[in-house]
Symmetry: C2
């Protein structure tokens, strides 16, 4: 099973690495990180780089396509080479997936029209302008398209997907292998649960970041 993960400048590391850590443990899986050019691709903080081992042109197909998000999604959405590649791989993929604002890249490629999809909570409504139906759930399946909410949601998405692909026992073995027994110190991980002040703070901080692509 071939899994291709798109990298682009200023992606968010955990969007890609969370699901990678799960999907790479599917027996027989081979993960390839791909970007426009070979070599290190910097994340949104500039303090971390992940190596693209393949150029987009070298990856013609994949059983699972995974598109992460991050502030750089805005540029990726306008990059015809990236969009063409996403469309081409999706054409024969078994599963086309995204994490966080990666769903906006799928949307910009025209792959979410008429589909239920999610994204980072701050970017969710943007899906509508591409004909998708914003769905405030952590993991959304619509046919072969699977979208996850913000950043850390990719881990839950990947485990859910593994269960569909390889069965519950394989998914549980992977969950136990990565000791995914989450115990966050607060119950503040969604806008419905976090203190209102903190929700508003993030909204104000992120307005520039997440509303640029609406402009």
């Amino acid at each position: 099973m071939d899994i291709a993960i798109l990298l682009f400048d200023r992606f968010t590391a955990l969007d890609a690495v969370g699901p990678y850590e799960v999907l790479t443990r599917i027996p027989g899986a081979t993960v390839t990180f791909a970007a426009k050019e070979l070599g290190p691709v910097r994340t949104d903080t500039g303090r971390l780089a992940v190596t693209a081992d393949a150029a987009l042109a070298d990856v013609a197909a994949a059983d699972i396509l995974l598109v992460p998000g991050g502030p750089g999604q805005d540029e990726a959405m306008r990059d015809q080479e990236v969009l063409d590649w996403v469309r081409a791989v999706d054409a024969t993929s078994t599963w086309t997936t995204s994490v966080c604002t990666g769903s906006l890249i799928l949307a910009a490629a025209g792959l979410l029209e008429g589909k239920r999809a999610t994204s980072h909570w701050l970017a969710l409504e943007q899906l509508r302008q591409f004909g998708a139906e914003p769905t405030s759930e952590r993991v959304v399946f619509d046919g072969k398209v699977v979208t996850a909410a913000g950043v850390s949601a990719g881990i839950d998405m990947a485990l859910t997907l593994v269960a569909r692909i390889a069965g519950d026992e394989v998914a549980q073995a992977i969950q136990l292998g990565i000791e995914y027994d989450p115990q966050p110190p607060f119950d503040a991980g969604s806008p419905a649960k976090a203190p209102e002040m903190i929700v508003e703070f993030l909204r104000s901080q992120s307005r520039f970041l997440y509303e640029r692509s609406t402009a």
Copy 2:
């Protein structure tokens, strides 16, 4: 606030990237990935490389030291350059932290003697041979030393640490920023919760991996 994350061959990506994604969002934080040599460092799967932007010799101190785990921990535990560096940075750190079998590296450096500590559940008992007290909790604080259980536990550890360093509101804002509202599809993330058959399967698969350093 300077945060140094150790990289070594065959580390587990999420051990490092989970806490990175949290700690990098502390206002004023600067994360540096460091390894024996500059350049790409391959993870345990061989399919992902993270760039070391600094050589160990270039990082003399850090407010937070983070040591990930992974199969390569076995070699790292025997590497005097790595152990000397870990000891040197620990000497002036505010917090010395690990994820997964990273705690065995701290232990091999002599930093866990007489301390409560945790590790990946399959490796927990190995801590005892270095004078540490194996503690089956997800995040363990003992003075300035903070250890996390396997792989995904680094996210919980980092959020807990942020709350101590910068306050509950900053930690909650980061949690909401990465939308960490975990909803794993199964409740199989610890050996106490997973089906016994799956626990035994992982034990048998991992015996070689996790028991080499006891040999």
